[in-house]
C-alpha cells in the first residue's frame, strides 16, 4: 500500500518535472524561469531541513483539522439523519453551504483570529468538513432495511444501533470518504498558510513565490506529496484494522 502510494506520487511528480524541463530546453528558457536539474538539487540540499519542519508543521495542523472535521461531521450527520424538520434543515444547509467556495472566507478568518494556529486549523477543518458532512449524511441517513427491519419490528431500534448498522454496512464508503478528505485537509492548511499564516509549508511557498524561486517550489511540492501520501497510507491502514476488527473483511470476502 505504502509502496503503491509513494510510487504513484513519484511517477506523477517526476513526469511533471520532466515536462517542465522539456519546456525549459525546448523554448530555451532561463534558469530564472525554470531552474535546471542541478539548481533544483542544490536548492533541495539547502532548504530540505527547514522545509521538512514546515511540512511536518503543516501536516500536524492538517491532521488535527481533519480529525475535528470528522468528529463534527459525524455529530451533525447523526443529528441530521432522521427525516424530520431538523434533519431536513441540516441537509438543506449542508447542500447549500458546500456549493460555496468556502476557501473564499479564509481572509475573514484571518482578520478575526489572526495569522496563528487557530486560523490554519479552522480553515483546514472547514475545507474538508462539507464534503465529509454530505457523505456522512448520505450514508447515515440511508436505511439498511434488510437489517433494521427486525429491530424496528421488535421495538429494539435505538439511534445508536441505527448508526452502528448503517456505519458498519457502509464502512468501505466511510473509509474512502475519510481518506479522500485527508488531501482536502492538507490543501486547506496549505491555502490558509499561503494566504495569511506565518508558518508551515504554505508560508514557505508564499516566500518562494515572492522570490520567484521555482526550485524551492518544486522541493516544497515534493515534500508535500511524500507526506500527504504517508498520511493517506496511514488512514488506509487504520481503515483496514477497523474493518478487520469489526468483521467487515469476512463479509466482503463472501
Amino acid at each position: 500500500m505504502l509502496h503503491k502510494r509513494i510510487s504513484q506520487f513519484l511517477i506523477i511528480y517526476f513526469l511533471g518535472l520532466g515536462l517542465l524541463l522539456a519546456i525549459k530546453y525546448c523554448f530555451g528558457l532561463s534558469d530564472y524561469v525554470i531552474p535546471g536539474f542541478t539548481d533544483i538539487k542544490n536548492t533541495a540540499a539547502a532548504v530540505a531541513a527547514g522545509y521538512l519542519r514546515a511540512v511536518l508543521d503543516t501536516l500536524g495542523v492538517a491532521v488535527i483539522g481533519h480529525l475535528l472535521a470528522i468528529a463534527l461531521a459525524t455529530v451533525v450527520a447523526i443529528v441530521g439523519r432522521p427525516d424530520n424538520l431538523l434533519g431536513t434543515m441540516i441537509k438543506t444547509a449542508a447542500y447549500n453551504l458546500q456549493a460555496y467556495p468556502i476557501v473564499a472566507v479564509a481572509p475573514i478568518i484571518f482578520i478575526l483570529l489572526g495569522d496563528g494556529l487557530p486560523s490554519r486549523l479552522l480553515i483546514a477543518a472547514i475545507i474538508c468538513y462539507f464534503p465529509l458532512l454530505l457523505s456522512f449524511i448520505g450514508i447515515l441517513g440511508e436505511p439498511v432495511a434488510s437489517i433494521e427491519h427486525f429491530y424496528v419490528m421488535t421495538g429494539r431500534m435505538r439511534w445508536q444501533l441505527e448508526v452502528k448498522i448503517r456505519a458498519f454496512e457502509n464502512m468501505h464508503k466511510l473509509i474512502t470518504v475519510v481518506t479522500g478528505s485527508a488531501t482536502l485537509a492538507m490543501v486547506g492548511t496549505i491555502v490558509a498558510e499561503f494566504i495569511g499564516a506565518d508558518s508551515g509549508i504554505g508560508y514557505s511557498l508564499r516566500i518562494a513565490l515572492y522570490q520567484s524561486d521555482m526550485a524551492k517550489v518544486l522541493v516544497a511540492l515534493f515534500l508535500i506529496g511524500v507526506f500527504n501520501s504517508l498520511y493517506l497510507v496511514a488512514l488506509e491502514l487504520l481503515g483496514l484494522v477497523i474493518q478487520k476488527r469489526m468483521g467487515v473483511e469476512q463479509r466482503i470476502q463472501q
Binding site: S146, I147, F150, T154, K164, F168, G247, Q250, R251, Q254
Partner: protein
C-alpha cells in the same frame, strides 16, 4: 379473534391502480395458516398492512394487539459484526433462552452458530432469521417466504416443529408451493386478482402435523380447490 380486515382498499403511493378493493379477511383461531396467491397479487403488501408497516389504506383492520404481530421475510439479514449465535442470544428474551437451544437443534443450526451471517448458505440464513423471530413475544408471526431456499425435508421438519412448539400462536405462511400450504395450513387465505370478487376467499387446508400418514386423495382435493380458487 386476533385479526379482522374489513373493506380494505389500497393503492401503491406511486401508482394509480388499486391493489386491494374491499378486501375482507380474518384470523379467528390460532394455528398455522397460509396466504396464497399468484405472484404480484399483493400478498406481501397485505402482510405488511396487517403488520402495521404500511398505512394509507381505506377500510379497517382490527388487531387484538398490534405489537404482537411480527412480519418476517426472506430478504432480511443479521448484522455482520457478531456471530449468528451471539446475535441470537442477544435478541432472545431471558425467559426464552431454553427455547433458543431447542430451536437451534430443531432447525439444524448447530453447525453454523459460530459463523457470521454472510458465511451461511441461503437456506441457513432463512432458518437463522426465522429462529430469532420465533424467540420473540408474539401473537401472530407472518412468514413471508421465510423458508425459501431451505431444503424440502428440512422445511417440512421446521413447519411441523413450529406447529408442535407453538400451538397457541397464530402463523400466516406465505409460500408459492400449493402442496405445502395445502398440506400444513389449517386455513388458506386465497388472495386473487383485483378483478375477482371477492378478492380474498378462504380454503380449508389439511393442517397436517406430521404424526400421521397423509390422506393423499384428500390432499389432492384441497390442492385442486386452491388451484380453482386462484
Amino acid at each position: 379473534m386476533l385479526l379482522q380486515c374489513r373493506n380494505v382498499t389500497y393503492r401503491y403511493p406511486q401508482g394509480d391502480a388499486l391493489v386491494f378493493n374491499d378486501l375482507n379477511c380474518r384470523l379467528a383461531d390460532p394455528g398455522f395458516h397460509g396466504l396464497f396467491g399468484p405472484s404480484g397479487v399483493g400478498k406481501s403488501t397485505l402482510a405488511r398492512i396487517i403488520a402495521g408497516e404500511i398505512n394509507g389504506f381505506a377500510g379497517e383492520i382490527k388487531r387484538r394487539d398490534r405489537a404482537g404481530i411480527l412480519y418476517s421475510c426472506n430478504t432480511e439479514r443479521l448484522p455482520g459484526w457478531s456471530s449468528v449465535g451471539d446475535h441470537l442470544t442477544k435478541v432472545t428474551p431471558a425467559a426464552h433462552l431454553p427455547l433458543l437451544q431447542e430451536l437451534i437443534r430443531a432447525f439444524d443450526l448447530g453447525s453454523c452458530i459460530d459463523s457470521r451471517f454472510s458465511q451461511l448458505s441461503l437456506g441457513q440464513k432463512n432458518r437463522a432469521n426465522l429462529t430469532r423471530y420465533l424467540l420473540q413475544d408474539f401473537d401472530l408471526l407472518i412468514m413471508d417466504e421465510s423458508l425459501a431456499n431451505v431444503d424440502e425435508a428440512i422445511r417440512k421438519q421446521i413447519i411441523v416443529t413450529i406447529k408442535k412448539m407453538f400451538p397457541d400462536k397464530y402463523f400466516l405462511y406465505i409460500s408459492h408451493s400449493v402442496a405445502e400450504v395445502a398440506t400444513f395450513c389449517a386455513r388458506i387465505l386465497m388472495l386473487r386478482d383485483i378483478h375477482k370478487s371477492p378478492q380474498l376467499i378462504e380454503v380449508a387446508g389439511r393442517d397436517h402435523h406430521g404424526d400421521t400418514a397423509m390422506d393423499k386423495a384428500a390432499l389432492e382435493r384441497t390442492m385442486l380447490e386452491i388451484v380453482h380458487a386462484a
